[in-house]
């Protein structure tokens, strides 16, 4: 029983926030990509590239912040290359996404050996540090949310609101949504559809890259081979679960993060770890079975013409 109460303790809420951050980022990445009409099966790879780029960046510049920017940039560049294949050359998006994941897994492993002469794991690099927000940190109990936290966590929540706002209230966002539903109509209304798509994919790549960077230089200080470990796919699931919206993606990510946090609280409870690890995936399937018919995918998804 105390175990159950622990799940709602402030420590666990902070843990959920940390677990949710990379998921929210990659789910938002998936949302933007899929609204642009590109099936986002390659997010796993984009995240991995971002994680690697951030560590490599931090290694060469000695700065965690610069590392994060480089991680985001590498995610964006990779996503643009992927967009070139999907948009300009009208590639089979799902197969190409599988290719992207393999490619990223290989390239980052090869890169690790090239840069650090080590197989499978990089050397330690400078982390992107945490910040304490003055004044707010003095609030009793809640102050802990503002003490020694990664700025990326706040940035992620801000981005979530920003993306929601842009999609709902700005001209750019409304045009983008028109593209997601009916690209041909948008084009005949004078919107340069493909330019929007390329920009969207670059943003999507940067977001996934930031999610990867969070794993490698915020929560860790090294790059480990295949360290993303399925979070990219989980982000895609969160996006679908959340109905292709910014807040839906974030909400689903929090549910998954909650399921993951159970794992850390059940160490004593004698439940095999594997079943706890299955939880987010099982929850998603059940949720899709129950509510799946209600949420509709963007109409132009996967149909680049």
């Amino acid at each position: 029983m105390t175990d159950l109460l622990n799940l709602f303790s402030i420590d666990n809420l902070l843990l959920i926030l940390r677990l949710a951050t990379p998921l929210i980022l990659v789910a938002l990445s998936s949302t933007i990509s899929e609204l642009a009409g590109i099936i986002s099966l390659g997010t796993e790879g984009l995240m991995l590239i971002g994680a690697f780029g951030a560590v490599a960046g931090s290694h060469y510049t000695g700065s965690g912040a610069a590392g994060m920017v480089i991680g985001m940039a590498s995610g964006a560049v990779m996503a643009l290359l992927f967009a070139l294949l999907c948009i300009h050359f009208k590639s089979n998006q799902t197969v190409c996404g599988v290719g992207l994941n393999l490619f990223a897994s290989g390239v980052t492993a090869v890169g690790t050996l090239v840069i650090w002469q080590k197989e499978g794991i990089s050397e330690q690099v400078t982390q992107l540090g945490s910040i304490t927000i003055p004044v707010l940190c003095r609030i009793p109990i809640l102050g802990r949310f503002f003490t020694e936290q990664s700025p990326i966590i706040y940035l992620t929540l801000l981005l979530c609101v920003l993306i929601w706002y842009v999609l709902k209230y700005t001209k750019t966002g409304l045009r983008f949504k028109a593209i997601s539903m009916h690209p041909v109509a948008a084009r005949s209304a004078g919107v340069s559809v493909n330019r929007y798509r390329y920009v969207a994919l670059a943003v999507s790549g940067a977001l996934a890259g930031m999610g990867g960077g969070f794993l490698s230089i915020v929560q860790n200080d090294v790059f480990v081979k295949n360290m993303v470990a399925g979070r990219g796919f989980l982000g895609v699931a969160a996006n679908i679960f959340g109905g292709w919206t910014a807040f839906g993606s974030a909400g689903a990510s929090f549910i998954f993060a909650f399921a993951q946090s159970v794992r850390f609280n059940m160490l004593k409870a004698n439940v095999p770890d594997q079943f706890v690890q299955m939880l987010p995936y099982a929850i998603t399937i059940i949720a899709l079975v129950l509510f799946g018919k209600r949420s509709k995918s963007p109409e132009a998804l996967g149909k680049i013409k």
Binding site: G106, I240, V289, S297
Partner: protein, 351 residues
């Protein structure tokens, strides 16, 4: 077919497209290898030496191709019915699990032929169950098959990991199962290699898959649904049932990849035994243009890469994962036939 020819003059031939994809992938990989300061010639020659250097190397290369042929067939089968089976990895795990549970629970005196047959059927059943589940969730609950399959992959992998770490854990306490008794395993064909008679099972599966798709009424229905579901429905084919069935059959083939690894290559089950052959199978199928016989060749090609990777690492100083980069590049290019039209158009402009 005619229409395709008009649209894609160069890329209409699967063979041309695949060979070009491989060449382009090797070219890009060579540039990449040069960029990191290594020699592509040394890399590829050591890869070839690792894969073909001596008789035992060749035997191991063929063995590496066996699971890829199964997963390639599985992917091709689903593609024929118009679906993408990205869940082969999970189906393979369930097939492997059922096979090993059967093999470990047989009395030592049981007739080996019968046990192996049961294990094969178990592998098919395990994969089929997982594939059918994907198909049912897709057809009855309208959830996209790719998402369902990815989620089911993780559930299967975690479940197998649980079985290995708890109920099936070996006496030594390592996270792996006991070894299957020698008499219940596929025969080793070449001493001190992993090549076993599972290669014949792979060849048989190729022939059966070919006959099933091309020479039976069921196969005709599957192809009809794959090429035009609306027309197939108008023609009186139960599209939804066929979709579930073909996903199940595809899963059965994927499950056999697990059986082949467990009863042949390893003789036991452990975490990470599959090294992503489920995903590589998609590439094997796409590269083969979904032709079961060509799957043997493309499966071998990927087998060569896997098998030569270690020598490339030792002799050329590149990470063995370079072959994954090449495999990723091959998938990019083979998924993007228009890239070659672009090359052709450029050539014409120059003239």
């Amino acid at each position: 077919m005619l229409k395709k020819k008009n649209l894609r003059p160069l890329a209409d031939s699967v063979v041309v497209r695949s060979v070009l994809s491989i060449l382009l992938a090797l070219l890009v990989a060579s540039i990449f290898i040069l960029l990191v300061g290594k020699s592509p010639v040394l890399a590829f020659s050591s890869l070839a030496k690792g894969a073909f250097g001596n008789g035992r190397a060749v035997a191991n290369t063929i063995n590496k191709a066996v699971p890829l042929i199964f997963t390639g067939l599985a992917a091709a089968f689903a593609f024929k019915s118009g679906m993408l089976n990205i869940g082969i990895e999970g189906q393979l795990h369930m097939g492997a699990l059922l096979s090993i549970v059967i093999a470990l629970n047989m009395p030592p005196s049981a007739p080996p032929f019968l046990v192996i047959l049961l294990c094969i059927l178990g592998g098919i059943a395990g994969g089929m169950m997982w594939g059918a589940l994907t198909g049912i969730l897709k057809e009855r609950f309208k959830i996209h098959e790719v998402i369902v399959a990815i989620l089911l992959n993780y559930i299967a992998i975690q479940f197998v990991s649980y079985m290995i770490n708890y109920p099936l854990k070996c006496k030594e306490g390592l996270p792996e199962t006991e070894m299957i008794p020698q008499q219940f395993r596929f025969l080793t064909l070449v001493d001190r290699t992993q090549l076993s008679s599972n290669v014949f099972m792979a060849l048989a599966a190729v022939v059966i898959a070919y006959l099933l798709i091309n020479k039976t009424i069921l196969g005709y229905k599957i192809r009809a649904v794959g090429s035009n579901p609306t027309a197939a429905a108008a023609g009186g084919i139960g599209v939804s049932g066929i979709a579930i069935l073909s996903m199940a059959l595809s899963g059965g083939l994927g499950g056999l990849a697990g059986t082949a690894e467990v009863l042949g290559t390893y003789g036991k089950l452990f975490d990470g035994f599959s090294s992503n052959v489920g995903f590589t199978g998609l590439a094997v199928a796409v590269l083969a243009g979904n032709n079961p016989f060509v799957v043997i060749l493309t499966g071998l090609l990927f087998g060569i890469m896997d098998s030569g990777a270690r020598q490339m690492n030792i002799r050329a100083g590149l990470s063995a994962d370079m072959v994954i980069v090449i495999q990723g590049l091959v998938i990019f290019f083979v998924a993007t036939p228009q890239i070659f039209n672009f090359l052709k158009a450029r050539r014409r402009e120059k003239k």
